[in-house]
Symmetry: C3
């Protein structure tokens, strides 16, 4: 088998036995996926995935960034160029390039996710390599043509209780509507991701705000009207199942300006070409505005700070956004969040979920904040840290100060559909391994560890996201 | 039992056996507690502790910060409000709220400390929960009424060889005097903590300096007189057993101004409303002044930087200082300490003990500095890092560059009296576990590990603090 | 034995068995030492090392910094003073001071390296201590007089396939020439380390640039001539075996100025007394210039940022550079490297090797950058992090995002000749221990782990450095 029953469990036999016992009752729990980026169109149309390369390689920036780092051209992996220049279209050749470089993924979570999908979905028993590339390709291609490999069938097979996608306020949510109208029972909800209309540096910000006004019938060129537009759009998203908003700013900065100052700032950024400080301040202010709205409509506020987007200008120019060149930066939370927390941090009815791409903040800033403020919870380790070592470090760094109950279970945060069960399984295993070590070191009783394992795998996400 | 004989030891049976052997000779060593915040009044008056809630919940910000983070009102835990508004006074109801939320402490050091006290002091054999809350309450309340649960009896039972408290230079040390005069043999010493008269941002700084002058008969409005007042007061503290001073600044910044510049700065800050830069610079300069005095009077200089105090203005306004809302911030040491080290870092007769709330500085800055400068030693992991994982990381991050002998053993740093033996026991166990792993990996011989274990548990603290 | 066959292997018996199997085929592989600071004169002249103290204590700042931190005067260890004042000259007395303080090195890599040399070179079976000091001294002194302890014999005994030294562009490489002319088969190559002529803060920078012009016959006072001088000198170094350049700047900052701006900057720094910003910008620009030249001549570009040199002015004034007082500082890479990467980061034919003294950058910045940019690779943990815990953390922090193949194997980076086999052995053991844990946790198959172990011990360094 290419995946082992005991993978990710502690080496020590006594600890491993405890980990197995903790894992057994949670391994088959339904998947709560409260934050992710799968395409709602898949579930709406339920068409077959096209071919192995377009399922596993072309859309997955974890996969092609590693191949690119070792000199494989992105064009040769079939990544579309913005200028329409020719790229590889032969799926089997793309697959070959991937297969013959599969050793590059040794030691990475990508390897764990891929092997899990290869084994559990396609029954693979030998490792992917140049030698097995064709067998893999043919097996997967054959399977994808079958009805049981269509998106809805996989959704059900994956035992997904609910999944959230992420949409812009400018999105009319037609796929979500189509899913609802179809009578299919799979629960797919949206999340409110307003970057396009709250980030002055976003492409087409002014036009976006204008369209935002049109969509909502509000005068979005006016501060009050702009806020009203958000309220309306949030209500619409909520009617389509949303229980959260999501904010991916470069920093964790927040602001709590007096209304006239906020209004003046809004007018400045709306004129176009705001200063970097104004753009940053506007994003900061909007987090506090969103929290204020959350107090009314109950949406959970997610903050995903700390990524420098599009670090590589050549890759951005040729291939566009989300092409593996977003790089984490140092992120300060204690001063940055203070304006928001001064205003709303003591509200027990508000839930703000903080994510991080800077592990140094976990024990120093995030756990101390979350272990004090009623409104704060810590999101799971994200992106490059959604990995066995990343998850283990997160527990070791967060638990002693924030406990388990100020965290919110797991998010897969993925666009790679077949990786969803793999990612949740990795999280469950790593958490059970961590808990097993607490048990064996007599820092937690085994009956308690069972309760915690269930919360981490299922209960906390459901509760924190109100799903 | 709610505490296990092998708690905190490595999972691997071979390593665990070594850890047990290393721990056995150090487990009952007397406690050296060179830095802490217990109330000297307890030892002076030797009155019974009032009730279980006022012993374990009300005074312990580790306990109530976690409950507060999960929505329990601080008023409902009996925390006094500054405005005198009513708060819960029924100790049993407070205890109940704590007991029914005891699961929140899973995985935290607070849980370890509490269980240790419940088991060793009160003989508890079942976990605290809603179900056992009343039994706990009654058992503890009954015990507290007995003479053997009074402060001095517990001090002796805890096998404390010496404990330091922390007082302001404005304190007349009357409780310490009362302890001395009582003929009781327990050794309780003070430490010189001059924040009230060296931090221009401290409440009432100007009045404090004026009173400082009165107390010492020096003209504290004059730079030379102000320094002379420190010298006198340090001498008085020394006569009451002090062997150290302690400084809790926001940053590790130090300065070494020429005397006229220092004097001019002093006059500026004394006028009131100093600029943030002047306030910071004055604190910085005072660390160097304290080091200069230490060269003469031999007091050990402790620097505790990196906490943003009173982060939550609502909590500060309602409940005051030290209410669980002090949050660590990133702390730079290499540039910050340079003025002080340029002046006194090469003095082998000076001892400066550095603490941290920012683990990133341990391997990068603190261990390299302490592994070079004769005057520097590293304090144990502090506050949120006084925990099994925090201590383990400290050893892993510090030892390879600073060794063991540039560290100073353990400080419990606590106001929670019953947690003292628990905290020292955790430190001894974690250190023995770390040493056991070095032994099993053949990085240290077992006879050496025994010597080091004794130093970490007892010898280094005694020597570094001259106790 | 003072070194154990299983040292540094995991405690868990199952994991240890795997580690042994992985280590066995790599333990005796030849040493590739692509970056270090041994003295080429040793190999050129092949004279005996003078005595035990001058082999192990006097030249090793890891050793004397620790002794100094605990109050041993550097003069008493025989470290020469710049003012020519008397220092200890009795090698046996120096050795005694070292031996009686050997316990200070418990838990440090220095201890591992020394014990390895004592055991494997001199057959020691009892630990160094005051008791064994004379026996050690006599045994080592006797051995050093024998031909098989001369530099070339040791080089061969160490099984060094190739070693790189580091020289200034102003160096005429006479020892390297002498090695070549001698007919000895040991492969000793140089590396191009241009600090003296690219760092405006370097002692004698202007004179150095003038001499640089003379050496090359270029007008080094002119920007074009200065660059041409680099090109010529790089070619000369390449002819003496160099395959890399090396750059030890205070930060990782890079710049990509337009040629007129670069030229104007060059003229400003050449005038003397440049502003700190100009000095920093010039170093930054020169990294990009060096990368441009690397594209032509193929030299690998090494960047070693983040050390504050000569932190202790007293030690610098008395003893000079490299005396154990260089302290790491926080180092930012994401913004700092952007100008260089914008220009050349997508070149698969360029190799830039990044080192770090700030572990916080590994998972947050370095692994994400190296896991994307074709031109980037990560150097091994350096200096204080060339240690068992440092190496383990490096693998845990880097592998999940950068994989193994964006790293470059091990560098010993040492001036301590007898520590070379010890350091490579530690690296091989720690890597095998890490791989064994991946295998036992079923994150990697054992056959793959064997391949990776070979790459980490031998293949990657040879390939990355083109040796």
């Amino acid at each position: 088998m290419i995946i082992h029953e005991d993978r990710l469990f502690p080496a020590d036999p006594g600890s491993r036995a405890v980990a197995r016992r903790l894992y057994e009752p949670v391994r088959h729990l339904p998947i709560i996926s409260p934050h992710g980026h799968t395409d709602p169109r898949w579930y709406a149309e339920d068409k077959p995935f096209p071919d192995p390369a377009r399922l596993f390689v072309v859309p997955d920036h974890y996969v092609f960034r590693m191949l690119y780092s070792q000199g494989v051209a992105m064009e040769d992996l079939g990544i579309a160029r913005r200028d329409g220049a020719a790229v590889e279209t032969d799926a089997r050749r793309i697959w070959w390039r991937f297969a013959e470089n599969y050793h590059l993924f040794r030691g990475t979570p990508t390897r764990l996710w891929l092997d899990h999908a290869f084994a559990t979905l396609f029954g693979m028993t030998r490792r992917l390599s140049a030698e097995t590339a064709d067998f893999y390709y043919d097996t997967i291609a054959d399977a994808l043509a079958k009805p049981e490999y269509r998106p809805r069938a996989l959704f059900e097979r994956f035992n997904i209780e609910v999944i959230a996608t992420t949409e812009s306020p400018l999105d009319e949510l037609k796929w979500h509507r189509m899913i609802r109208d179809s009578g299919w029972k799979g629960r797919v909800v949206t999340a409110y991701r307003p970057d396009a209309v709250v980030d002055p540096d976003f492409d087409g910000f002014r036009d976006n705000v204008a369209r935002f006004g049109e969509l909502t019938g509000e005068d979005a060129g006016d501060w009050a009207g702009y806020l009203a537009a958000h309220r309306k759009r949030r209500a619409f998203f909520k009617s389509m199942g949303a229980t959260s908003s999501d904010h991916g700013h470069p920093t964790a900065r927040t602001a709590d300006l007096a209304p006239p100052a906020a209004e003046a700032l809004f007018q400045r950024v709306l004129k176009g070409h705001p200063s970097p400080e104004d753009a940053e301040l506007f994003r900061a202010q909007m987090l506090t505005e969103m929290a204020r709205m959350s107090l009314d409509d109950g949406l959970v506020l997610q903050i995903h700070p700390g990524s420098m987007r599009n670090h590589n200008p050549l890759v951005f120019q040729r291939f566009g956004r989300d092409m593996g060149a977003d790089i984490p930066t140092q992120t300060e939370y204690v001063r940055a969040l203070k304006p928001l927390l001064d205003r709303f941090g003591n509200e027990p009815s508000l839930t703000i979920i903080l994510f991080m791409l800077d592990e140094t903040a976990i024990s120093r800033e995030l756990a101390p904040l979350a272990g004090h403020y009623p409104a704060l919870r810590l999101g799971p380790p994200w992106w490059f840290f959604d990995s066995p070592e990343g998850m283990r470090r997160f527990r070791e760094l967060a638990t002693e100060t924030a406990g388990f109950y100020n965290t919110v279970g797991f998010n897969d945060d993925t666009r790679a559909f077949p990786s969803i069960p793999a990612r949740h399984d990795v999280a469950r295993r790593v958490d059970c391994a961590y808990l097993a070590e607490l048990v064996v070191q007599h820092r937690l009783d085994e009956d308690e560890a069972h309760e915690v394992a269930h919360e981490l795998a299922y209960g906390l996400a459901k509760k924190a996201y109100k799903l």
